[in-house]
């Protein structure tokens, strides 16, 4: 077939025309929603859970909404352009799903005051820029109790992407949970300094197991730790998605993020005209943090304890960061009788007593 320039132009013009017709007709009553992701679309992990949020909006609101998703927007300068494009094209609710998208969002949001902006894991909050984040540590605390019951060596392993508060805090909670079972349990920490290097992640998991760790928690964006534990016949805890397919026998549970209430809630409020910018931080009680079904190998009495702990955290009776807590240098970081306040939890820059590693 001979593609002349003219033909191509004719074709695209017709195509654009066809696309524009229904949109013009619908533009009045349909809410256009945009979502910008830093990473590529994936079948599991962080991006997948945000894709499920968009699915939830479609399921709940059907043809009242129209959604545009832009993946792979890692560079800040790209992100700024993408956000501006989405806002100019009439999107009235725009989600950014990565911490790294914060600066471009803070820059573009004030230029489009009529648009509702929602930033996941963001910390800066403007008049029309809301933030939402999950209390990962609540789920990790429960997973830690399960690990504490199931470990034989008393050594846990933690593989984290980077030494940042969002990773360090949940890692601490994991050990704090395990230590409610046995205060002598320790947890070795490895930071990969990368989100996507499955080869290195596997090496880290194997190194942890070689040094005696028999429950591995991987807070990266892959199923490698769960799969490595399956191969070695030890246990693992998953993160972000249910990773059972990577280790049907190894996964004790997984701290699954369910953003659907955040997504549907925001869209519903924008439709109602009741949206205001909020800073939301939700956990087990709100259903944003959930736990994948417990491994069949966990005994019945332990399950009952885990279920009770879940209820305790939901009601606020159990506070994972209740003192006294020491860091791994021996300093008291939470005094006895006190509970670490939310801001301090989100900014944790210490490893709890029993964590073997450094934050650098």
């Amino acid at each position: 077939m001979n593609f002349s320039r003219r033909r191509l132009l004719q074709g695209s013009a017709a195509f654009a025309g066809a696309l524009a017709l229904p949109r013009l007709a619908a533009a009045q009553d349909v809410l256009k929603i945009g979502q910008v992701n830093a990473s590529p679309a994936a079948e599991i992990g962080w991006s997948k859970q945000h894709a499920l949020g968009i699915e939830a909006i479609k399921a709940a609101l059907g043809d009242k909404v129209q959604v545009t998703v832009v993946d792979n927007t890692f560079l800040p300068q790209d992100a700024e352009r993408v956000f501006r494009d989405l806002a100019s094209q009439g999107h009235r609710l725009i989600f950014g799903t990565s911490f790294s998208l914060g600066q471009p969002m803070q820059k573009v949001a004030p230029q489009f005051p009529d648009v509702a902006w929602e930033h996941c894991s963001g910390i800066v909050h403007l008049d029309n820029l809301g933030t939402f984040e999950a209390k990962y540590y609540e789920g990790m605390y429960i997973a830690g109790i399960a690990a504490g019951h199931m470990t034989k060596t008393g050594k846990l392993g933690f593989v984290g992407g980077f030494p940042i508060p969002d990773i360090v805090g949940p890692g601490n909670a994991f050990l704090l949970g395990a230590r409610t079972v046995n205060p002598d349990i320790t947890c070795s920490v490895v930071f990969l300094n990368s989100w996507f290097d499955p080869g290195k992640e596997k090496e880290a998991a194997q190194a942890l197991m070689a040094q005696g760790a028999d429950v591995i928690l991987g807070m990266t964006d892959t199923g490698v730790c769960v799969q490595a534990a399956q191969e070695a016949g030890v246990y693992a805890v998953g993160y972000a998605s249910d990773l059972t397919s990577f280790g049907p026998d190894s996964q004790l549970t997984s701290v699954v993020l369910d953003w659907s209430s955040e997504y549907v809630g925001a869209a519903q409020k924008v439709l109602d005209g009741s949206w205001t910018s909020e800073s939301r931080w939700d956990g087990l009680a709100e259903g944003v943090v959930t736990l994948a079904p417990f491994n069949a190998a966990i005994p019945e009495d332990v399950r009952a304890k885990l279920d009770a702990a879940v209820e305790g955290v939901k009601s606020g009776e159990i506070q994972p960061y209740a003192g006294e807590i020491k860091d791994n240098q021996g300093n008291v970081v939470v005094a006895a009788g006190e509970v670490l306040p939310g801001d301090a939890v989100r900014g944790i820059n210490w490893l709890a007593e029993g964590m073997i590693g450094t934050l650098g």
Binding site: I44, F191, A210
Partner: protein, 305 residues
């Protein structure tokens, strides 16, 4: 398995994908062609091998498929670099970027489940020897084949007639052409060999080592393999040493973190690179001749000119 054995076994396994790709590139560069697209070819090999493995074709066919896919990708490079005499730096970089994108497309939908990885060979008597048994006989077959490639490539390059011809072409394609050797055909063969080895390296990573597909999963190993060739001064044994050095420091720093070494993880993560640079400096001080670089490297050859 004691700690020293664990570190040794981890090191050799970590070195294998880089060594495979580096040995291939070494032969390519000895023929006077520079193919910077290793990362792309490795990724294509990894994606195709994972595709075959997860579709139930079995690991041997997955490896063959990965090698063929890498070869096919290098064929594209050969077409541009040998026939159209395109700039080899630009073509290689384009191949690296193209391979990253293509592999992501091939791998779409593979991220939700693992494949069973390659098991270590169970060698009945030898594996039971105390100390040496676990040290020498704990690997899967691909590791042994890769290690065997080192003396094979060395012997072929330095001791065989065809290896001599290849090196001649790398030094002076004009002379080789004048004597009557088919310069471009031999370079094509070298490029395809390099592609197959890079594809194998990627396949090893996705189906034998990790058993999971993740977009961009080589995470820079192609670029490291490329620098290993220079590090090795185009000698196969040194490529082995470089790969083991790099892999060894990667594994050591992980164990160091787990033992709680009071050093920032960022500094420990940089160790393999630092160690490689230090080794490079030490080697280059002993070497004055500078004869190792193939004289016609990255220079297009036009038979008529």
């Amino acid at each position: 398995m004691d700690l020293a054995t664990a570190i040794f076994v981890g090191t050799i396994a970590a070195a294998t994908p880089m060594l495979l790709a580096a040995l291939g590139e070494l032969v390519v560069e000895k023929s006077g062609v520079l193919n910077l697209g290793l990362e792309g070819m490795m990724l294509i090999g990894a994606a195709v091998a994972f595709w075959l493995a997860i579709s139930g074709w079995g690991l041997p066919l997955a490896f063959v498929g990965g090698a063929l896919a890498g070869m096919l990708a290098s064929g594209l490079f050969a077409l541009l670099a040998l026939v159209f005499l395109a700039n080899q730096y630009a073509t290689g970089l384009a191949l690296a970027i193209f391979g990253t994108g293509l592999s992501a497309m091939i791998g779409m939908g593979f991220g939700s489940q693992p494949v069973a990885t390659l098991k270590p060979l169970a060698i009945p008597l030898l594996g039971d020897i105390p100390l040496l048994g676990p040290l020498l006989f704990r690997f899967d077959i691909v590791v042994y084949l890769t290690l065997a490639m080192v003396p094979a490539v060395w012997w072929w390059l330095t001791r065989s007639k065809s290896g001599l011809i290849l090196r001649t072409i790398g030094e002076s394609p004009e002379n080789a052409h004048a004597i009557g050797y088919p310069v471009r055909r031999i370079r094509l063969a070298a490029i395809l060999f390099g592609g197959a080895m890079a594809g194998l390296g990627g396949a090893y990573l996705s189906v034998a080592y990790v058993g999971i597909w993740v977009e961009n999963m080589t995470a820079g190993r192609g670029w490291i393999a490329l620098s290993l060739v220079v590090f090795a001064a185009w000698r196969p044994w040194r490529a082995l040493a470089g790969a083991v050095l790099f892999g060894g420091f990667t594994i050591l720093q992980l164990h160091g973190q787990i033992l709680g070494l009071p050093l920032p993880s960022e500094a420990l993560s940089a160790l393999p690179y630092l160690a490689t640079i230090v080794a490079l400096v030490l080697i280059s001080q002993k070497r004055r001749r500078g004869m190792e670089v193939p004289a016609s490297l990255a220079r297009p050859f036009r038979p008529g000119a």
